[in-house]
């Protein structure tokens, strides 16, 4: 039976939402699921992790060196814990997990699996290659153990109804001093960065002018979303080209993508193929975007977009 260790990510007293998704992936593998958290004073984070459905146990490793998550500092500690009988060590696939997991993997002399998007069993997984333009199914050696990062966009977080036990752990590993934390410049919060925003609203050439793009910005602000545009809108001069979404612009994967007045040429779709939910608003019912949109609304965007902004 599998015994799965999930390395939990957290910041400022809050457990990262990705952890619940990793638990969901772990449930696909089956077996015991335990979470380990590293920090200097974890506070509420442990109980947030303990509340996740399916989690059997939460370990906390608190020491001053763990104040900020640095791979060189956490990796030796994770290795020591992992060697205590775990079959799998999983990490959320954000920058925290991507930075840390391979270091753990190398110390364990194990070939890691990156970005698990589907679980077929304890040793078989799907993962994306070529920017998701192909999917490979990999068979992973079970011994000595499996180390992997989980692609967060592919799993839904488990509910928070549980109450696992929380236990403090001491780890003996010698920690290096060659890496030191200097500071963090947080994401500016006015309008989310297009590349990483969880919600994005985009406008196409149908907007007709840069002035008209205002309605897109207004909708985005109401939603707390980033703003993008099609190549046609950019080429027509309505918005600057760093807002271009598509094959030769930005390739994004928000959970929600609202395309207003965008026909859906394949070059644009290449930029949003990994979006969670695509909403399309277009007056042409034959627009190719309706072939891939999860929700489509045919109509005049100059009426629909302001109405949507108002009703949200």
């Amino acid at each position: 039976m599998s015994k799965i260790l999930i390395v939990g990510e957290h910041a400022e007293g809050k457990l990262n939402a990705g952890v619940g998704k990793v638990v969901a992936a772990a449930q696909g593998i089956g077996g015991d699921i335990e979470v380990v958290l590293f920090g200097d004073s974890l506070g509420e984070v442990a109980s947030q992790a303990a509340a996740l459905d399916g989690v059997a146990k939460v370990y906390t490793v608190e020491r001053a060196e763990n104040a900020k998550p640095m791979a060189a500092i956490l990796a030796p500690q994770i290795v020591e814990i992992a060697k205590g009988g775990y079959s799998h060590v999983l990490f959320p696939g954000g920058t925290f997990g991507k930075d840390l997991a391979p270091r753990v993997s190398a110390l364990l002399d194990v070939q890691q699996v990156s970005d698990i998007m589907a679980v077929h069993g304890a040793t078989s997984f799907d993962r994306p290659i070529y920017a998701g333009n192909a999917i490979v199914t990999v068979e992973v050696p079970a011994e000595p153990m499996i180390v992997a990062t989980v692609r967060l966009a592919s799993f839904t977080a488990v509910a928070a109804g549980g109450s696992a036990a929380v236990e403090a752990k001491t780890v003996d590993a010698a920690l290096p001093s060659h890496t030191r934390y200097v500071g963090l410049e947080a994401q500016k919060s006015d309008r989310p960065d297009l590349q990483s925003a969880p919600k994005v609203v985009s406008g196409g050439r149908a907007l007709g002018s840069s002035e008209n793009f205002e309605i897109i910005f207004k909708l985005a602000d109401k939603m707390g979303a980033g703003v993008g545009a099609s190549r046609a809108a950019v080429d027509s001069g309505y918005v600057p080209n760093d807002m271009q979404v598509g094959q030769t612009g930005k390739i994004i994967a928000p959970s929600l993508y609202v395309a207003c007045g965008i026909s859906g040429a394949i070059q644009h779709l290449a930029g949003i193929k990994d979006a969670g939910t695509i909403v399309a608003i277009n007056k042409d019912e034959d627009a190719p975007i309706f072939e891939v949109a999860d929700f489509g609304l045919v109509g005049d965007l100059f009426q629909i977009v302001p109405e949507l902004t108002e009703k949200l």
């Binding site: 640095m70 791979a71 060189a72 954000g94 920058t95 925290f96 991507k98 930075d99 997991a101 391979p102 270091r103 993997s105 190398a106 002399d109 194990v110 070939q111 890691q112 699996v113 990156s114 290659i129 070529y130 920017a131 998701g132 333009n133 192909a134 490979v136 199914t137 990999v138 068979e139 992973v140 050696p141 290096p176 060659h178 890496t179 030191r180 934390y181 200097v182 500071g183 963090l184 410049e185 947080a186 994401q187 919600k199 929600l256 939910t277 695509i278 909403v279 309706f290 072939e291 891939v292 949109a293 999860d294 929700f295 489509g296 609304l297 045919v298 109405e307 949507l308 009703k311 949200l312």
Partner: protein
């Protein structure tokens, strides 16, 4: 200071890749290959560090078959002084690559190891971190800014919550992210000179590396195609639908 830059030959980022119908892999014959774009950024950073006087020697290294030599010539045209070709054919997984690269780094007595954060074919995003683990040295991944001062470096990294700055002791591994720099255009005379720069060839055996079991790819498939969803008839309906999915 000697810097090593690891570069990989991959299918060019412009190519629309095709999955073979028998599921055995991606079509790579007859398609354009080039240096992994993130490795180009690492190369550019190494050259800029030399222009700043921080770095005195740049050695490019690649692991791959005969055709990978083209990628080394590109690195040499960029400005690498020498190149190392670990000549091995077939699929080379990150852990094995890391072992070889760490061995080359040790052999070369490098001070700084630069490479792209991931290769655009496998998208593993592991090799740099693994090299650092094997060398027992610091890693600074997804770098968007690098400042080297004597025996330490200050690296700004692009992480989910913003820009994090770390101070690391050298020798260290830094992986390049998209916004670290914009690689220069190669000049014809440099491409010409690159043909004459030295390349040392070696094998895994020379480096004491034995490839492990690794992952086995059992199938390659095209991505799931998105299918047509639901047409709603009003804004109200749309708002309802999005709310029920927890998106707004």
């Amino acid at each position: 200071m000697k810097v090593l830059v690891s570069v990989k030959r991959v299918v060019d980022y412009n190519v629309r890749i095709q999955v073979k119908s028998d599921g055995s892999g991606v079509v790579t014959d007859g398609v354009k290959h080039s240096m992994n774009p993130f490795d180009e950024i690492a190369m550019e950073e190494a050259v800029r560090l030399r222009e700043k006087g921080v770095v005195t020697e740049i050695v490019a290294v690649t692991i791959g078959g005969q055709k990978s030599e083209e990628t080394l010539r590109t690195a040499l045209a960029f400005g690498a002084d020498r190149a190392v070709h670990v000549k091995e054919e077939g699929d080379i997984q990150p852990l094995t690559a890391a072992k070889a690269l760490a061995a080359v780094f040790k052999k070369e007595e490098g001070k700084l190891f630069l490479l792209g954060k991931q290769a655009i074919d496998d998208d593993a995003n592991q090799t740099g971190q693994m090299v650092a683990a094997l060398l027992e040295c610091p890693q600074a991944t997804f770098a968007s800014k690098v400042e080297v001062e004597g025996e330490t470096a200050k690296v700004t990294r692009e992480i989910d919550s913003g820009l994090e700055t770390l101070e690391i002791d050298l020798p260290a591994v830094i992986t390049a992210d998209l916004r670290l720099n914009e690689p220069r255009y190669l000049k014809l005379p440099d491409i010409m000179k690159a043909k004459k720069k030295p390349i040392d060839a070696m094998s895994f055996a020379d480096l004491g590396v034995t490839p492990g079991a690794g992952l086995k790819v059992t199938k390659t498939s095209p991505p799931p195609s998105r299918s047509k969803g639901v047409m709603v008839k009003s804004v109200d309906e749309l708002v309802e639908a999005l709310k029920s999915k927890g998106l707004i």
